[in-house]
């Protein structure tokens, strides 16, 4: 790529600094370049006032399981740090030790234990402590005990020629609602009002037939997603950059119609000006950036596709253990704790 053409032309500089360009054969201008000394005439040293003035958060959608919010004016390195922490370093409670007293089902012990570990447990992890390594017995401050005891039997009231298992058998489907909490120590008083147990009632764990039974005790401990994915508090957490679509020339008529089809619905609208339909970009946020328009030789030079480099559209979906706004708050606190840990270490070695 001829660098001489791109370098330091006035109109280009703002674009290089602020936009990621989606080209026909690749994505360019991806990395952050606004560090002190890179651009003559720009002071890119870290300025707290400038950051606080430009930074904003807009919550677009929030309900008990998912949220979508915009974070504007921050760099990708820090936004990505929040995303990584949401996935792997916000602690939750999950089943770790499974004591199988009786399992006569056709599901193997280890497969059953694996499935039980993945069931999300509704317990606020901030009220529990990590279990110390090497400590075998759990105590009330670091363990939740759950029990699954169920036996399948034949339904005496089923009609003689029925073949529907729902009629023939009792308890033949083991759901997560059959998992009961067994309070240890003072947990019955501390957690009297909040019910501890699986988040969802309808997770199918195993299927049984008459005579088969499960008698299982589970110990749940506090952990993070880095250790095992069962501890991850989010179904997923992701972000995308705000798309920006600029029309370089006026597009009318049938060409405008075809241009509209190249983008997601609602991005481009056709305005009626003096009888002809003219294309106009209405809402570029809805676009999925498929770059379909670049596949048409007469349309690809009419638009400029890009993304705004410091505008992040976050989507956080919780598994139900903690509400998504609490998860984001906890993730930010984890990053603060990481910084604090090294600051304390620097201070303690400096005093030696």
């Amino acid at each position: 790529r001829p660098l001489g053409k791109m370098a330091a032309r006035m109109e280009n500089v703002e674009e290089i600094r602020n936009r990621v360009i989606l080209g026909e054969f690749g994505v360019t201008n991806v990395h952050t370049t606004d560090f002190p000394g890179n651009y003559p005439g720009y002071d890119d040293t870290w300025n707290v006032e400038k950051f606080q003035k430009n930074f904003r958060i807009d919550v677009v959608h929030l309900d008990e399981n998912s949220m979508e919010f915009d974070m504007v004016g921050i760099d990708a390195a820090i936004a990505n740090a929040f995303r990584r922490i949401l996935l792997a370093e916000v602690p939750t409670m999950a089943t770790e030790k499974v004591f199988i007293y009786s399992n006569t089902s056709i599901v193997q012990d280890e497969v059953l234990a694996h499935r039980l570990g993945l069931i999300p447990i509704k317990a606020d992890p901030r009220l529990f402590e990590y279990r110390n390594t090497g400590k075998e017995e759990g105590s009330e401050i670091d363990t939740i005990q759950l029990q699954l005891k169920i036996k399948c039997s034949r339904n005496p009231r089923a009609s003689k020629d029925s073949s529907d298992p729902r009629e023939l058998y009792l308890n033949h489907m083991v759901y997560s609602k059959d998992i009961k909490w067994v309070p240890i120590g003072n947990q019955a008083d501390v957690f009297a009002d909040c019910c501890i147990g699986p988040v969802h009632d309808d997770i199918l764990i195993a299927q049984l037939r008459p005579g088969q039974e499960l008698d299982i005790v589970m110990h749940c401990v506090k952990g993070i997603g880095k250790d095992h994915a069962k501890f991850s508090p989010v179904a997923t957490a992701s972000y995308r950059l705000l798309p920006e679509i600029t029309l370089l020339e006026v597009v009318e008529g049938e060409k405008a119609e075809r241009l509209k089809q190249c983008f997601s619905r609602g991005v481009i609208d056709l305005e009626d000006i003096n009888g002809t339909k003219v294309a106009k970009v209405v809402n570029s946020r809805l676009d999925t950036c498929s770059r379909e328009v670049l596949r048409h030789s007469d349309l690809k030079n009419v638009v400029k596709l890009g993304r705004v480099r410091d505008h992040f559209i976050f989507t956080v979906e919780s598994t139900g253990i903690l509400p998504p706004d609490v998860l984001v708050t906890e993730a930010i606190k984890v990053l603060v704790a990481k910084c604090q840990r090294f600051l304390n270490e620097l201070d303690s070695t400096a005093m030696e």
Partner: protein
């Protein structure tokens, strides 16, 4: 520098013999791109820093080599400390900005 034998190291400083205090490689234990990249960004925004980068030497070991080279003889621990403080302040500001609209809608 790393403490007693039984205590796990958190932060180490590795300096080449003869080099001044401005060129230091810090080894941060139990860290990865999460802190590495965000800290690198904050330290690069410091005008006194001539070079800043980090590597994960092997993906099976959870530690990063974080190198800082300063301009003008400033000891390298200073931009590191300042970067950590600034990153912590950024997070605090993000937290306050995030919680403000939510407290209004309650």
């Amino acid at each position: 520098m790393a403490g007693e034998g039984e205590k796990k190291a958190v932060l180490e400083m590795v300096q080449a013999d003869g080099a001044d205090e401005g060129c230091v490689t810090f080894v941060l234990h139990d860290e990865d791109h999460t802190l590495g990249n965000s800290l690198r960004y904050m330290i690069m925004k410091n005008a006194d820093v001539e070079f800043c980068g980090y590597t994960i030497t092997h993906p099976s070991e959870s530690k990063i080599n974080f190198r800082i080279q300063t301009r003008g003889g400033i000891p390298a621990a200073e931009p590191l400390r300042r970067g950590l403080n600034e990153l912590s302040d950024v997070c605090q500001h993000v937290l306050n900005t995030f919680q403000r609209p939510l407290s209004f809608s309650l």
